[in-house]
Amino acid sequence: MIPGEGLWYSVAVLACNALFPDVFSQIPDMTIELKGVKFAHAGTPGKPVLDIDHWSVEGGQHVFVHGPSGSGKTTLLHLLSGLLACSDGEVSVLGKQLNTMSNRQRDRFRANHIGYVFQRFNLIPYLNALENIDLARSFAARGGPSTNLASSLLASLKVEEDNWHRPTTELSMGQQQRVAIARALINQPELLIADEPTSSLDQENRDNFLEMLMPLVTEHNMTLLFVSHDMSLSRHFGQVQALGDINRLA
């Protein structure tokens, strides 16, 4: 795959998506829908960090959310992934109301339907790349597809095969982040959340990362929520939103 092909491919798919939305009817209309969400951390009930009247993301969209740090980014992502529960308002992901689920149900839901990539510490340091991917698969209910998917994901993310069995601490940061994508995609989640995934990478690796991520996301018909403060990345996305427009407290 030559660099750029992925980009054009994603642009084409994006165009198709916009022109013929019915083709992707298997994706729920609204992947994310927040209504009247107010949230304050348990330790500081007097200091709310989120106040979202209404916010939604359509299925298959690639959304770039930017905002300064401390604007409630991470809290928002934790609400969407079910790591945090919101008592005030309604958080729906893939048509399921997270705020009415039990803790255990939210953990299962996250394992099965949501992929997550952080800025750093995406991998268990003492496991190798394949084991890290296996680990993610072990939490998903569907028993998981065969290892072929892990190999093909790693291959299409250009992680060399000799690195698959090395401890992930021996891999470069760029490679680690690409293994992290494979790990996040192994359960074929409908929603991929990326929290500043490129902030630890240099410019070249940053471009590489996005050029590999976008076609995969498109190929698997995923909704991508990409959070970053680096506006230069926004050109890769169909939809760009400022967190300040979503969260009235930001």
Partner: protein, 412 residues
């Protein structure tokens, strides 16, 4: 996958894990080792004498009688007249009797004057008879049969002439050096005080003392005189052991002897006296136990500390596992599993170490202390101890596990 994470996570922290593992291993080693020694010491203690129904001596405490007649410790309070012995030994209920005459020694080892019946009827352990490993039983007045330890420690072999001393200290001045004895037999090791004893005929004891009119030493004129046969009938003995025709008679005969009219006598049941004695030694047993329990507590606390220290450095890992969908209890169990794995390896190490050590020192211990330790560490009690260690380790690991659990719950 769960097990693999735990294993790899431990391997990732080799240094502290190996130290903890060794600590657990040592604790297991000490616990099982002490338990093993304790049990076998008690067994070997209880099997010092068997098949003897009653031990009879002059009126004294039952423990005192047991100590001097069986363990060759302490001093008899008084002797029994030969006539009393004859009267009781010829009772129709008595199957056999072994007279014992104490009071002489050789280089710190006690000399027992007895008869041929000693080899015939005395038994130890599981009704095992004494065996002569070298030579034969005594038949002449100046014959001596050595316990295995006496022969080995002093380096005596058959045909050797030895001098016995009056009294029981190795530096006694009252040597019977005009009456040398000849070694005619050496007993096989028994693991009982028999190993530390020299056995001669009652006649030998009498012969040694024939020319000691005041009991303080030989008259100078009498050196080397061969005693006459009628002088060799003992006037008194120290104690005797009885075998009865039926065990049912034991208490009746005991009562009869305790009420013996001519002389104040005491008859004891060796089994009862042995267990009384062991209860006194039991104090020491409990101290050993306490020490081993403290060793266990220390090592288990060490395990808890190592796991606790790892919690802080693992907060990224905890976050990551949570995001992958691991519920908090998964993380709790992960830390507990790690504790379990450390414990398992430590136990294997400790048990294996103990087994090899016992195997290595088995012969030495038996030869030097007459303590027979079988390297069998896999007993029901041992299993119970191992389970106890595991429970303690899991309990200690519950603190770091709970901390991880709480961290996981609040990781968002």
């Amino acid at each position: 996958m769960f097990l693999r994470i735990a294993l790899k996570s431990l391997l990732n922290r080799k240094g502290s894990v190996i130290m903890t593992l060794l600590a657990i291993g040592v604790a297991i080693f000490v616990l099982l080792g002490i338990e093993n020694i304790r049990n076998q010491a008690r067994d070997s203690f209880a099997s010092t004498v068997s098949g003897v129904d009653l031990i009879v001596g002059a009126k004294t405490g039952s423990l005192n009688l047991l100590l001097y007649s069986v363990f060759r410790m302490g001093a008899p309070t008084d002797n029994i007249s030969w006539e009393s012995y004859q009267a009781i030994a010829s009772d129709s209920n008595v199957a056999w009797s072994i007279p014992i005459s104490l009071g002489d020694s050789h280089k710190g080892y006690r000399v027992v004057g007895t008869t041929d019946d000693y080899f015939e009827y005395f038994s130890y352990g599981n009704k095992r008879q004494l065996e002569i490993s070298d030579g034969e039983r005594f038949s002449k007045t100046f014959d001596v049969v050595l316990g295995s330890e006496v022969a080995r420690t002093l380096g005596y072999s058959l045909g050797r002439e030895i001098i016995l001393a009056h009294g029981v200290v190795s530096t006694s001045f009252n040597l019977h050096d005009n009456k040398p004895f000849t070694v005619v037999g050496i007993l096989a090791p028994t693991g009982t005080p028999v190993d530390q004893t020299l056995h001669v005929l009652l006649e030998g004891i009498e012969a040694m003392h024939t020319d000691w009119p005041q009991g303080f030493g030989p008259a100078s004129s009498a050196v080397g005189r061969t005693p006459q046969a009628d002088e060799l009938i003992p006037e008194s003995i120290t104690a005797f052991m009885l075998g009865l025709n039926s065990r049912m008679l034991t208490f009746r005969v005991q009562r009869e002897i305790n009420g013996f009219a001519e002389e104040p006598l005491l008859a004891i049941l060796p089994g009862v006296a042995l267990s009384e004695l062991w209860q006194m030694v039991g104090m020491f047993e409990n101290v050993l136990r306490l020490i081993s329990i403290l060793v266990l507590v220390t090592s288990v606390l060490g395990l808890g500390a190592v796991l606790l220290a790892s919690v802080r450095e693992r907060s990224n890992e905890i976050n990551l596992l949570r995001v992958l969908g691991a519920p908090p209890y998964y993380l709790f169990l992960l830390v507990e599993l790690e504790a379990l794995l450390i414990c398992l390896c430590g136990t294997l190490l400790g048990v294996l170490g103990l087994y090899l050590t016992l195997l290595a020192v088995e012969d030495t211990l038996f030869a030097n202390f007459g303590l027979h330790l079988s390297p069998n560490v896999f007993t029901v009690e041992g299993l119970f101890i191992v389970l106890l260690v595991f429970a303690a380790a899991l309990l200690a690991a519950a603190i770091p596990s709970l901390r991880v659990y709480n961290k996981a719950k609040a990781s968002a």
